[in-house]
Amino acid sequence: MKKAWRNDAYSKVTGRAQFTDDMKLQGMLHCVPVYSQKYIHCKIKGLTGLEEAAAIKGVVRVITHKDIPGKANFGQIVQDYFMLTVDRIRCEGDVIALVVAESREQAIEAATLIEVIGEELPLLLDPQQAMADEKNLIHPGKGSNIINHHKIRRGGDIDTILADCDKVLQRSYYTGHVEHGYLEAETALCHERPDGVMEVRGSMQHPFSTRRFVASLLGCPLADVEIVGNPTGGGFGGKDDTAAMVCARAALAAKLCGRPVKMTYKREWSIRESYKRHPYKLEYTIGLKGKMIHAVKVKMLADGGAYTSVTPWVTWRSTVQCCGPYQVENVHCDVYGVHTNNIFTGAMRGFGAPQVDFSVEQWVEDCAQALDMDPLEFRRINMVTQDCETITHQKLDNHIVSLEEVMDKALEISDYVNKSKQNSHGSFKSKQSFSSGKSDAPVAYDKLYGIGLAISYRGCSLGAEGMDFCSAIINCQFDGSILLEVGIHENGQGAESAMIKLLQRELGVKQDRIRYNRPSTSHIPDGGTTVASRGTLMGGGAVVHAVENLKKIIASSVYEKLQCSVEEVKIDQDKVYGPRVTMSWEEAMHQMFLNSDYPYAFGVFQAPKVDWDEETGRGNAYFTWGYSCQIAEVEVDLKQGKVQLIGVSAVHDAGKVVDMDMIKGQVYGGFTQGYGMGIMEDIGLKEGRIVHNNFNKYKIPRSTDMPDFKVEFIQNPDPNSPSGAKGIGEPALEIAAAATANALHNALGKRFDHYPMILEKEK
């Protein structure tokens, strides 16, 4: 058996890995957040209990917005989030004050004494109502509760075109809030160094964004804040804004108290305060002409909650991908992000795609049914193909469009066509079970069987959302060892190991020479956030470019010793050589020392240009695309109201694979999260409050919920990616709920128009 390898595996399997909460500093204080127990939406007239809290034994300081030296408000796009509330509470997660004490218990005790004197405001909890409400504004300065509106106008007048179609279907879908569920809750450990720099450790997936939050709150330059990376216990998109704000608050406390401060969240605080995946309402009208999807009119409302966060970007992806991976001649799409008093929503693995895929991959099957066609055949006729044009007029001609090949491979490894003959369609006719590979084992009559499929294409990296570039530093030592730094972040996915493997592959040296040196924000330029499945793509691109630069530097230093021209110098299999002379890697590095040349290179990867027109929804939205197909098999016990997943097959074209064990891990974990979202995860929202605030009520998939997976890859190295790799984190998640929904339909004979798809026990 080929053994898996990760640079952090030994430290994690022995318990040596130091997560932020595992660290202590001399004289360290503990900081906790204070929430209002009374209000979700109110004007703040004042705070009570501040003095009483300060009088509790061990309390060092109670902090309110008045103590902030910089700006209380911040945000990645719109600076409408208050790290400590000033004049309003807008959602349950708002933090009204901080308490700093010698012990965490003392701080927690004191925090219970503080409350807001408020003037209650009407609660806006329904996006539709909030959107129409021009009187009650969650952010009065904005003039509207609408965060953003993206659109696509492709083809002619949509209503006329729909009226002219052979068949028209209307479908609406609703999706719920989803919690990221990283097992390590938010945590930060900060201290001001003697040189005046605020040093911040914490659990996060975007150190550079964290630095902006900290610097803004402290009112200091970026260079006066240094974010030092620690292992991060999962992110899934969720450790950007909230994780950054926890770091910023801890830094504020450290600054004001003049001592190191730790701020570690309890699970209940984490779920209460951290942003979630957006709930959507999606209303589709689909017009069919012949066997083609001729027209789609769609309106989506995304509940952005109280703050903007990255809602404009999340909803933009939903816009670009609003018709799934299908070619549609006429598209009229409106996507709105809307403020409510619910918990704010932001980035989560999938980022505006899972809601759309859940809908599209179900109505596509309804369309096939309306035409009395095989859904696979209907997909084949309508899906994106080589050199075709997407709904935003992007020609897919700069990479291999492998969607049909991906789907065919998934059909093959799952035996889909044969197994779909066993679909129960709501009646107990099936006597076959495919669980545990025993295809002829009889199952009890009271279980229904269904197999379902979903496909997708996904624009890689950020697209026209934002600036997209990253850098890498290769610093070879004169003994032959190598230090590597890249401007992406290890969230637990194995980013550092992937970078090491890429460097090894591209440079042609032994892997054990390479040590990844996790850079702080003061050591490497801002490489952007490690989200959008962009880590391997963007970080890997930077590594490849740094290797190209390094090879030139080495060649121009050692060519004379190799008795050849600079162009003839090659590096491979741990050797540096020309046509006549060969040096070991160590000899070459030593020679560079003698030549006073640094074997040091910096590499940058700038994403190829993308463009977007907000008015028409036209543009080359993403510089390349990945393709996916996932298939789920379920058994349904109607009496118990229980769905059991009994098989999963997944095939992805994520470009050239860097490491097979790690990429499979991404697919296993991504599907599992998507399945959890589809079938069980529910924050229990009641009047703006999250009731399911720990893992006893917020259920996520357990080992017994998951079967063994079959996973394969179609590897088309992407010409737009220097390493050939695309991304996998999000493709792995985005269609799991859709495939499960189709499997459930094929078992039950009816559809769910919402997730989580929780069955009721039969009465």
């Binding site: 058996m1 216990g233 637990g492």
Partner: protein
């Protein structure tokens, strides 16, 4: 006098410590920070330790529960020279580690399971790990690791 054997060393427990939550005692007082705090209500399993080779969740136990018992944390599983336990090596080899936050609890609970079950099926392993949450791996490579290590028990 209250005593406990912690990672192979006998330790005298102070009276004042007996009412402390075990997880806090291990992490804060003994610096055994391999034991992770994920939910603090006994649901996620990140804080799992072994008490007389039984997997228990240290966030819902008190120090008094370890009196006269043998306690093993993740730090106590490797050999005296720091050599990895075969199960730890299997977690590495099977690619069962991502963020690593659940890993100590997964390793210890699997260890307790394998000590009692000689030829478990993958379904047995999944049932044994039901009380331990992982958000990264979808459990497949964790089950692979347990299967790989089962031969060495």
């Amino acid at each position: 006098m209250n005593k406990s054997m912690i990672n192979g060393k006998e330790m005298i427990l102070k009276q004042d410590d007996l009412e402390k939550k075990l997880i806090h005692f291990l992490r804060e007082d003994l610096n055994l920070t391999g034991t992770k705090n994920g939910c603090e209500i006994g649901v996620c399993g990140s804080c799992t330790v072994l008490l007389d080779n039984q997997a228990v969740k240290s966030c819902v136990k008190k120090v008094s529960h370890i009196v006269d018992k043998e306690l093993i944390t993740i730090e106590g599983l490797e050999g005296p020279q720091g050599e990895l336990h075969p199960l730890q090596q299997a977690f590495i080899d099977a690619g069962a580690i991502q963020c690593g936050f659940c890993t100590p609890g997964m390793v210890l609970s699997s260890h307790a399971f394998l000590l009692k079950n000689k030829n478990p099926s993958r379904e047995d392993m999944r049932r044994a790990l039901k009380g331990y949450l992982c958000r990264c791996t979808g459990y497949q490579q964790i089950v692979d690791a347990v299967e790989l290590a089962a031969k060495s028990y």
